[in-house]
Symmetry: D2
Subunit: 338 residues, 4 copies
């Protein structure tokens, strides 16, 4: 049980952070993604413009929230992390590596340029690699494969109510020609097998799984906690696989901004086009931000800013050895004095 | 002072490692680099074929060696790490970022494709980025700039005898047309200013600085120790810059193999075409391997194998939370029982 | 009616040409295309290895043949010429240019790199451009569009029996993932509209139209004769459109070899993966060669050789002003003395 | 001697053409090139904005001019045609093909992407190919090589006063880093040998040769006349080489617009960044236009328009078989009635 004094202090800091980043100049926003209408200019984005939630889940399970932390949104590309973790469980590291690499490519998320040397997509965080990864998930039929993906997400979050969102994935299927092209291109080169339309459907169903910031932060905390959900106590990912998942998040998780993210913020993370960012800080916490205004890389503008500040103040950067802020950090550590 | 029992055990383990990796099948080797003759096939590589040294420098300064650990070789691309650290000291993070990025590009080390969005080379570990970095090193003239670069390398190693090797850099200047082209291309796009021939000379002089595995391991230990040489006690890099240097090593240091390295071995590192690999494990140790047989990526074949094994057995991977071997690790930790 | 003496001489020359090029070293052949099995190595190509036919149709309708000139084969990419001519008739030059360019791209026939400046495929002779072209062909439904394509090919050849070959296009549909990817990619970028599977079927039906060398030479003669079939006297293409069709054949018709073809052989031409080459020499003749052994560019090895020799000896190069051979040429000219 | 009635009519038509194209909207102009200042925006281009000259030289030597036809300007890239013709004379077709291809690349004029299959620049009309071509020109030293290039240009024009323009090439050498990079890149890949700075100087000297529209039209007439200057009667290029030169002009002469030029205008041509366009219509005439306002491809805006109109009205397109205008054409034909 968290120390009530510390809890209140963390709460205050999180709300102060939320207030400070609430103002957002439209000129910083490249667009908003809508699964029906595609990328939208700020002036037509409606209420999405103002959505903004933050959640922090300590590795021991305490959760702190601010803003629209209970508002549901689709995981989109963040789901790639969990499909990859499932593929690793189903096949092991070596086998998965045969089909999808682990190298940041420098190419856009929707690149159709592959790793020619190894005849595979560059990594599981670009769309092409994610299609291959999703197709590696085992199951006797489509329904079982989907059920397994949804189930693993539920267990990461410790929330049995999470589910794919039909209107979202049906809308996405309508505008999925680029992914369709990537899939057929890979199939033409024997990098992908099976029914493309079915793989695409499964992939978009996975992307449509709807969560809140609270859920997402807990999913991060599970990764941060070595694969064990800190609330349910369930092991969701084998200990030796956590390293693999965190590694690809670290080098490939933030689209074309991945290099700068690793340099400046320095924690394993993954963003999605719906405006979510998930960060998992090993041994410390999961962080989730949701704010749909995207920058030119496709990352949430507020999300990047909030994560940069949290990482800096708590000294979370993987290669940092000092912190700018000790109070908040204490909240994530076992309260030894109580 | 290290516990003599532990020291002997580490020594034994290192020699056992050396012996086990000594055998090397020519078919695993893409070539050997010679600064006069360029890339050589194994059958004409002469005595270079058999060179093989390993050194480990604990963050507290203890050094363990095996094989040809006292044999001198040119830093080559490993020097990029130290020129970058000097440029960061001279200009600060923001200014350096204006001229050279921090993103793994997915391109080869000699790529002449730049980050068009930011009008700069992708990162300081590819040749183009290294030319820009070297050109950022301050000095009133060429001699002073070179002296500053050599000096920082000496202080990292705690060895005042290190120096640039004239026959090497003179030979390299003869075969430097690709780097020359990269420099003129950048100058034509205002990414680089100044006299190309002079910049190139300074860069190749920096690359020709000659070290041993023992030196190199100590250079790694200095980075691992937060920027302070553990033997001389001198601060070589500001504490807040260490994070930046380790970050680019982590994501960009191993040529096209950087992604797989981060996934499998998971420590900040840099390799050079002369066959050296430097790894810096924050808070733990510096590792150096020298063995000139290169794989298709340009990394030392034995170097990769040795580092993979050390990382695995000591649990050094950044995102690992367990080790396969505890004995050796104890040697790197303060000996609490003595 | 041709002069019988000249006819006999042309016949002799053509057979002599056939005999001289009959020998073909497997080492010059990169492969053989089979619509069921894809690209085949020479040793498994079976009787295809020996197929070799030549036909010449003078602009006045006289036809000369040698070898397997009556053996049927699928037009494959040669059909792109006729679909393009139909699209030009249906929409006019300006409108067609909006959807597909006329620039040799330097890319492979199956390139999925587009003309970004104009947001269209580079030209109608690469697959992507041909898919767009075929989709421009008018018709109230699929059946009518196919009928119009088949019909125009029949009229070019003056042979009402020509037709699409179901086993061929059904087999091609099975291995069409690369074209499928190109089509979805273009649709995702609004370069192509409609049902991809239907467009692809129509395109592959068009490619499967089966002809003989005799037919193909007559199709060339129709183009050479300003768009009027010299035997039936029917105008198949408006006079002002002939220029457009010959122009793209000239610069884009021979895959990546187009530049060298224009330099060395210098006549409008188109090749297909089945081993056919069609050349149309304005005011003079149509030439057809069929021989399935393909070079690395995908052009018929014997086809290139025979065309080079005919062009050289008859002085057919667009920018040549002298001939090496006058006899054969006389055969293509109105026999003024008879 | 031309028929005076026809001459007057051609003169009138040319002046009418000049007047009609004199008006030029700045919004159609991407920029103006100045050898000292590089590419300039229209608003700072000064008197260059209004320069506009046209010249027509019939294959029999009659010349018709309008506007600034006597104003000198540097050949720039148009010189590539004549250096190529000289390299062909010096080495023959096969040998030159070993070093530089004949394929339109689809890349920009300053592309540093090469024909990897053949290890050579794509064609002699892109800068990289032109550097190689110029380096193929024979001579015992730099001075003799330059003299031979200047001399051949003089003989094409029939004007012994033509010369390289020192202020132009000295200014160009200052801003030649991109070409310098291309040269070093090729030398690093053994596509180019020798002293890069000397090759570059020779190339820029060649580019700086100064002509008028009148000269340029006569140079085109020499090519149109099978390699014989129609006024001096001197053979400047062997008959069998004319075909080669016209071929590469036809497919590669107009930068990235080459494909559309071949489709729409359809005559061998070459443009230069100084605003000149040279067209050579075999058996008919040379056409020269000078107007420095460039489009996005680097071609003269007025030049393209004037050539399009002349080609269309005189039916000059290589694959056209009819003309829209017969009067002007008669002027280029031997006046049979006089």
């Amino acid at each position: 049980m968290p120390d009530p004094v510390i809890s209140r202090q963390v709460d205050q800091r999180l709300h102060e952070l939320y207030e400070r980043h609430k103002a957002l100049d439209d000129s910083d926003v490249a667009g908003y993604y809508d699964s029906v209408r595609g990328l939208l200019a700020p002036e037509v984005a409606g209420e999405e413009r103002d959505c903004f939630g933050i959640a922090l889940a300590a590795h021991d399970g305490d959760v702190y929230v601010a803003g629209d932390a209970e508002r549901p949104f689709a995981l989109q590309s963040i789901s790639k992390v969990f499909a990859y973790s499932l593929a690793l469980e189903d096949h092991g590291r070596e086998e998965v590596l045969r089909y999808v690499g682990v190298a940041p490519s420098g190419d856009a998320f929707n690149s159709i340029v592959f790793d020619e040397r190894h005849h595979r997509p560059h990594n599981p965080m670009v769309n092409a690699g994610a299609l291959v990864t999703t197709n590696l998930v085992r199951g006797k039929d489509h329904a079982e494969r989907l059920e397994r993906i949804v189930d693993v997400v539920r267990r990461y979050a410790g929330n049995p109510d999470l589910d794919a969102h039909r209107p979202t994935y049906e809308a996405e299927l309508e505008i999925a020609d680029h992914n369709r092209a990537a899939a057929y291109l890979m199939r033409s080169q024997d990098m992908l097998g099976g029914d493309v339309e079915e793989i695409l459907t499964l992939y978009l169903q996975q992307c449509s799984i709807t969560v809140t910031c609270r859920d997402l932060a807990m999913m991060g905390a599970t990764l941060a906690n070595g694969g064990v959900n800190p609330v349910t106590g369930e092991r969701v990912l084998a200990r030796e696989r956590v390293r693999d998942v965190l590694s690809v998040m670290y080098t490939c998780g933030m689209y074309d901004f991945a290099g700068e993210w690793a340099f400046e913020i320095g924690v394993p993370a993954k963003s999605g086009v719906s405006g979510g960012i998930l960060a998992a800080v090993p041994g410390k916490m999961g962080i989730a931000v949701f704010s749909p205004g995207l920058d030119a890389f496709g990352n949430s503008v507020r999300g990047i800013r909030v994560c940069r500040e949290i990482s800096g103040r708590l000294g979370l950067h993987t290669f940092a050895d000092e912190t700018e802020d000790t109070l908040m950090r204490r909240a994530q550590e076992p309260a030894t004095e109580s």
